[in-house]
């Protein structure tokens, strides 16, 4: 009994202390000075779709300007229009991903959504809901 209890607790401890899953962009930018990175693995977009989300935020304009080209974004392309780029990508494990990249000049941030299947409709709905909620909150 005691042995089984020790095995159960050791397994739980190992599971709890095991390496935390992070997104590809989190691993890339977490040590970059002047950059805040937030990573959600398996973020719930709706009841059935989850995505890996990374938000990269620059602490000042110069860092932000330097970050944009790394995601294929430029200030001229940005203008005052929000840029959202979607396209295929491959995960670290080699699985095909649908990647959506967007940016916010106001927040000096770039956000990346990686889905394992075509989640564009769900993502559009999610973004619309978030925007509405944000607008209502700011009001």
């Amino acid at each position: 009994m005691k042995r089984i209890a020790i095995i159960v607790f050791a397994t739980l401890l190992l599971a709890g202390c095991g390496p935390r899953k992070v997104t590809e962009f989190y691993a890339r930018y977490k040590d970059r000075p002047g950059v805040n990175v937030v990573s959600f693995v398996g973020y719930r977009i709706n009841d059935s779709i989850r995505a890996d989300v990374t938000v990269v935020q620059a602490v000042d304009d110069s860092v932000y300007a330097a970050l944009l080209p790394e995601f294929g974004l430029t200030r001229t392309r940005l203008g005052f229009q929000k840029v959202v780029v979607s396209g295929p990508a491959v995960s670290v494990e080699g699985n095909p991903l649908v990647r959506t990249i967007g940016t916010s000049v106001t927040q000096r941030s770039i956000y990346i959504f990686d889905c394992e299947s075509d989640c564009s409709n769900a993502l559009i709905q999610f973004m619309a809901d978030v925007t509405l909620e944000y607008i209502n909150k700011v009001k």
Partner: protein, 113 residues
Amino acid sequence: MGRNHFIQSESGDNMAATDNRADELLHAHLAAARRWHQGEADFRQAFHKGIAKRGASGFPVWARAAVLALVAASISFLYYYQWSSRPYESYSCNVDFTAQEGIELMHASIATI
């Protein structure tokens, strides 16, 4: 003790009687020892049988299995409850943002130009 008695005896009858008594005692001791060994063997057998049947703690195996199943079910339920109550599987941040602050940053990034 019997042998001491034998040495101190002077008559042959006494010697024979003492000798018989000593043999009886010896046999009695041997029989007791055999019984003790048999008893020990029986006890060992019963003990191991008991452990196999009821476990070292004295709990029946089915009760132990039930307790383990209950504990496993509770852990699974708590883990699932914790997992399902939050909108993500894993959160990481290189600065001291809480998960809620991280979500707010994401929402603000999506909602603003």
